[in-house]
């Protein structure tokens, strides 16, 4: 009785319908993700997205798709740690001066400390000071904490259990980084051993000179001019 051809058609139709339903669902889910991300000025975590979407939705896939859709637009979808946010495209910065906010200017010391914390995290205060070769003034860490870019991370499992510092999600957001590994040049620095607390064994040890007091070919002797530049000598006065 059964007409196989008819069955086939039925199955096809069923399949098509399923596909269609999936497509509708996906496009609906995509719209939902889009709406939630658009509504927030802050990055939204994947966890928060999942909580707001039907359980059978593949959030990671949708985010990938949405990122693709917006990749050449005036607004891009950007990943910040485990969170996502729409941001204006960087090449349009010139248009946005009306929106620009006055960024707090960091002192040179604060900036250096920030970079060390970012590249060396988790880092203790003692390590930080070892790298800079100077005590960190009281205000510096305080100022950085206030920006919300650095935080106490935890404690190092060594005697004394010193506090470790690291960067925050808002640091990543502010500097447009997806994760800490995206810090500019971090791989090269690590490769060169410059992110370790101690001198790596393969770090080139210079060949000692025969006469340590003799300058090499490519050295200039230190002149009074140099010292003047350093602000240590007052300009020379001709002898009468």
């Amino acid at each position: 009785m059964a007409d196989p051809a008819n069955d086939d058609v039925k199955i096809d139709r069923q399949e098509a319908e399923d596909n269609w339903n999936t497509a509708v669902k996906t496009s609906d889910a995509l719209r939902m993700v889009e709406a939630i991300l658009f509504a927030s000025a802050q990055p939204v975590t994947e966890k928060a997205l999942k909580e707001r979407l039907p359980s059978d939705v593949d959030v990671a896939m949708l985010l990938g798709e949405l990122q693709e859709i917006y990749s050449n637009r005036g607004i891009n979808l950007r990943q910040v740690g485990g969170a996502w946010a729409f941001r204006t495209a960087a090449d349009l910065a010139f248009l946005m001066n009306r929106e620009a906010v006055q960024l707090k200017k960091l002192s040179r010391a604060a900036l250096e400390v920030l970079a060390i914390i970012a590249y060396h995290q988790p880092v203790t205060r003692a390590e930080l000071e070892d790298i800079r070769g100077v005590e960190t003034s009281k205000g510096t860490l305080d100022v950085l904490m206030e920006t919300g870019w650095i935080k106490f991370r935890g404690r190092r499992r060594t005697p004394g259990r010193p506090i470790t510092y690291g960067t925050t999600a808002s640091f990543l957001d502010h500097f447009g980084l997806q994760e800490v590994r995206d810090l500019p040049g971090i791989d090269e620095l690590r490769g060169a051993g410059l992110l370790s607390a101690r001198m790596p064994t393969n770090f080139a040890i210079p060949v000692p000179f025969n006469d340590p007091d003799e300058l090499t070919e490519d050295e200039d002797p230190l002149t009074d001019i140099d010292l003047e530049e350093l602000g240590l000598l007052t300009p020379k006065v001709e002898q009468e």
């Binding site: 509504a39 927030s40 790298i131 935080k151 447009g176 410059l194 210079p206 490519d218 006065v237």
Partner: protein, 265 residues
Amino acid sequence: MEALWESQVDRAASEPSLVIDIQGFEGPLDLLLHLARNQRVDLARISVVALVEQYLVFIRQAQALRLELAADYLVMAAWLTYLKSKLLIPKAPGEEGESGEELAATLQFRLKRLEAMRDAAMKLINCNRLGRDVFPRGMPEAVIVDQTNAYSATLYELLTAYASQRQKRATSHVQIARRSVWSLKDAREILMRLVGEMKDWTALDQYLLEFITTPAERASAIASSFAASLEMVREGHLEIRQTGAFKPIYLRNRPEEPMKDVVNG
């Protein structure tokens, strides 16, 4: 106008604390980096001895001008003097500790690392920054949180509140008089930093006294650093040796169990 024609000596005599901008430098390592840069060669190829020499000249000039130098600069000067002596005297066979070359390499490593961090800082501020290059939604329609908690507070806010509250209650009127002598604590801190670098017998006091003290403080400095060194011996941080009465006192870092480094896995 006339001030310009005044000789250095007169100036030093008439102005007890002449202000020269050493604040442009972020510490002794920064100053060394600047001097190394002046050698106009790759950091790996600088002459460490020349660099040490330049640094010491700088410090002596500053002292001659009676500038107040932060202790960090002087501790570095003492260490560099030590380094120089190690570089100039070849290592005797069987001698313990790091060679001058190894110490010099450590210094070069530290300079390179600092320079790398400085470059990194520049790259960092030139990233596309939020609020300068890229912008968030200007009219957010909702706050999306993944915590059920309706209250927000950061650890920083918590700690600030605690510290300032406790401080307010504790230090209504505490004034600590300016010290004119070396406290035991100062001596200890400086010794700790110097000795941390020295793995073989060193007559430390000579470096210490040369750079860190003024003649007026010398007696106090000797007494305090000696007392501090005894305490550090007792605690196991230090070993101490003297061959006879009034002979130099040798110190060395007592090797510790190597600490496990948990950084960056």
